[in-house]
């Protein structure tokens, strides 16, 4: 604790106060913590990816070849949990930690010690989740949506550890979002009004509010589960007068905003990168801000579109159908704005730009299938089939994940002062692009043909699509290991990067040296309109 206090007192230090493990354990530096978040999320991404490949190996052919159904369910569940809570969300928090202070011209996050805590409780949560797989009775096997009563009365004993882990993750997210909000609202450089903030900062501000609103709801619902399991309550137990459908309402009241928590920062990243490489200001900045806000608002009133088959009254079905369809409008505005930003620009296609363009196209495809899913009568045919699996993977993999990869390529030179190898980056892009489409596009077809999701085995007519999907998954998995190689190579032996890094880059983060010094903006920077960009 003393070291922490000293480090905040001795602001004139040029580097970290501690070295070795102690530096990382006790750090309150936003750059260190950002790095920790990013490496943590990458390791979770690899673990979640291994689980995905176990799933795809079993599904390569009809019949059961490698694993038993019970274990298969543990794989789908933990793949989902680890990717959502361990890979995507911490990666965006890591980006926010690194970039929000640099983009708004703040010396650090507003609450540095809480920042340390919000990171360091995460590894415990995920160690706990992963350790459940080795417990007698197995790990969580009820899907990442953990519908009661499968996750309560019928759950393996390890569910209690799962609940505890969710509480820890939730606490981490809440602390992280308080920190981000406090930083953005209080620590912007003089002259940076809200409507001059970079869009990444805007989208994170809105995301942080979403997190604050819904993580307590998630904590509430898992606590109700805990009480049902251990203390004899019957919130979700029909035999005791409870209601399993209520679980779904509460879960999705968290779950739908959660979907936007994973995509709004992605919108922000892409809105930074496209203007840079189009060498043109972001088109429709104001409308981007309004669109993001309206998506955030709408995300609270559409939750039951995940539950169209649960048996709601007609009026309810119609309301949720209409509300869901409306989301297409602000989402469309965003896509149109990105295309207009590119229009009559002067584009170059470095790796971050390639990933961002793929994001716009493939995310839009995911959006289209989302619009189709909104149509209640058609949803009856799509619901809980591979069509849904294809839909949300398009939104999360070439959507959220591609934006994270784009962000890493885009800001890595600023972080470590070295450039990645452009040709290797492009190879990584094309492998990922092909891999993701070969994996997930055929799943639209198997879903339409009637293949349910979360099954370890399937009827013969789905065999071809599954085989293609599995091949694609291995290609995609391999290309992410290649990504690790590209990154390590850049950090170790990349060419030195200039301060501005990219010809078309604007924003305060590019006014400091590359690599970014350990302490930046200890004096508030001058923010003038030449750095307003997006």
């Amino acid at each position: 604790m003393n070291a922490v206090l000293e480090s905040s007192h001795d602001a004139h230090h040029h580097g970290p106060v501690n070295t070795g493990l102690k530096r990382w354990l006790f750090t309150t530096n936003h750059k260190d913590i950002g790095t920790l978040y990013l490496w943590f999320s990458f390791s979770m991404f690899l673990i979640g990816g291994v689980l995905a490949l176990i799933i795809r190996t079993e599904l390569f052919q009809p019949g059961l070849q490698f694993i038993e159904p019970e274990f298969f369910n543990q794989m789908t569940t933990n793949h989902g949990l680890i990717m959502v809570f361990g890979a995507i969300m911490p990666a965006f928090v890591g980006l926010a930690n690194w970039m929000v202070p640099l983009m708004v011209g703040a010396p650090d996050m507003a609450l540095p010690r809480m920042n340390n805590l919000s990171f360091w409780i995460l590894p415990f949560a995920f160690t706990m989740i992963i350790s459940t797989l080795f417990m007698p009775g197995g790990g969580p096997n009820f899907g990442w949506t953990f519908y009661a009563p499968l996750s309560t009365t019928y759950a393996p004993d390890s569910v209690t550890f799962f609940i505890f882990a969710v509480h820890i993750m939730g606490a981490s997210s809440i602390m992280g979002s308080i920190n981000i909000i406090a930083t953005i609202l209080n620590m912007r450089a003089p002259g940076m009004t809200l409507m001059k903030m970079p869009l990444f900062v805007w989208t994170w501000l809105i995301t942080a509010y979403l997190l604050l609103a819904v993580m307590p709801v998630l904590a509430g619902v898992v606590t109700m589960m805990l009480f049902d399991i251990h203390f004899g309550t019957s919130f979700f137990n029909a035999a005791g007068g409870g209601d399993p459908v209520m679980f779904q309402h509460i879960f999705w009241f968290f779950g739908h905003p959660e979907v936007y928590i994973m995509i709004l920062p992605a919108f922000g990243v892409v809105s930074q990168i496209i203007p840079t490489f189009a060498r043109k200001r972001l088109f429709g900045y104001d409308s981007m801000v309004y669109a993001t806000s309206s998506i955030a608002f709408l995300s609270f009133i559409v939750w039951a579109h995940h539950m169209f088959t649960v048996g709601m009254p007609l009026a309810g079905q119609l309301f949720f159908m209409y509300a869901t369809m409306i989301i297409a409008v602000p989402t469309g505005v965003k896509v149109f704005n990105w295309v207009s930003t590119m229009w009559q620009g002067s584009m170059t296609f470095e790796t971050p730009m390639l990933f961002s363009i793929a994001f716009v196209i493939l995310f839009t495809i995911g959006g289209f299938s989302g619009l189709m899913l909104a149509i209640t009568p058609a949803d009856y045919q799509y619901h809980d089939t591979y069509f849904v699996v294809a839909h949300f993977h398009y939104v999360l993999v070439p959507g959220a994940l591609f934006s994270i990869i784009a962000a890493v390529y885009y800001w890595l030179p600023k972080w470590c002062g070295r450039m990645y190898d452009e040709s290797l980056g492009k190879i990584h892009f094309w492998l990922s692009f092909i891999g993701v489409n070969v994996t997930f596009f055929p799943q639209h077809f198997s879903g339409l043909a009637g293949m349910p999701r979360r099954v370890p085995d399937y009827a013969m007519q789905f065999a071809d699509f599954n085989m293609i999907s599995s091949v694609g998954a291995f290609l995609f998995g391999f290309s992410q290991v290649f990504f690790l190689y590209v990154i390590i190579k850049a950090i170790k032996s990349g060419q030195p990067a200039s301060d501005r890094v990219w010809e078309g880059a604007h924003g305060l983060e590019w006014t400091i040296a590359s690599p970014a010094p350990y302490h930046t903006f200890t004096e508030p920077p001058v923010f003038d309109d030449s750095e307003v960009h997006s």
Partner: protein, 379 residues
Amino acid sequence: MLNKAQLFRNAAVCVSLAATWSLGADELNMRTGVTDISKAVYDLHMIMLWVCVIIGTVVFSAMFISMLLHRKSRGAIPATFHDSLKLEFAWTIIPMAILIALAIPATGTLIEMYDTGGEELSIEVRAYQWKWQYKYLDEDLNSTFSFFSNMSTPKDQIYNKEAKGEHYLLEVDNVLRIPTNRKVRFLITSEDVIHAWWVPDFGIKRDAVPGMLNDLWTLVNEPGTYRGQCTELCGKDHGFMPIVVEAMPEADYDAWYLKQVAAESARIEALSKTFSADELMLEGEKVYASFCASCHQLDGKGVPPVFPGLAGSSVAVGARDEHLRLVYEGVPGTSMAAFGKQLDAAQLAAVVHYERHAWGNNTDDITQPRDVINLFSAP
């Protein structure tokens, strides 16, 4: 540039090949199905698909044109515009109008789907881990007769020891039979976790939720066999609880129905019979295979620690009435269901007798239906 042109041409050939192949294979699209509802749903799906394809083509074309023309390598100078109220207004209003146009037919179909009433037959669909029970209801919604429907694909096919059959995983021991040309209502519920009942060709799907009775209807005109699956994750064997519905011509259906009613009275008679040990073992083995084996396994070894083995277990060789009670009432808070709700006294007697004499279990008792009835009707 030439290289790029070639690349594009090759890509175009690939896409058109894929398209030809896809048009040839009908499993690439949603099934049209056989009911008015499923056809209306298919039409909605196609409208949505085309709207998405057209919007996608416009947006992506603009993007590709821009990527082709407005590149620095071609000497493009970036424009300085970055806002247009008119454009923003247009691409808010136009999508809104398209959405309203789409919502109208969707609303119509949904209202039609909710139009229950006027049905000539009601069937209760009750889900269990991992099978379906179908109860044919009379006018007062009491069960006339009922049966369970289990997947009938042999384990050897699943574990690749045997060639897979034509309807691999989509076949059951007892199919649900309904008449054609009559409106049938399904009342759907569950006994344990949430399942979902789906027959794609009818265009209907509904969750089976414990403690809740959902309703759904269909009217099938074409006789035939229609297959579906459980579509809500319901535990270990979620992938193995198919739904098979046979829509029969009305006369055939009526004949079948009468036969079932007769069989039902025979079943009730059996409750007061005395069986030989061999008869009990034979019937017990059947009941065990369809109700118990998915957890406790055919060899009685179970999957410890989740599903305990029965061979030599303290229950299966212990006091008979305790054994009966456990099977009848289940173990609350675990996957062990209360089979008193699923099996009649004759089946319970047989399966308990079987468990006490199979796999080397060797108790010297015999269990008759009346033992079950006496044990559970006592005050």
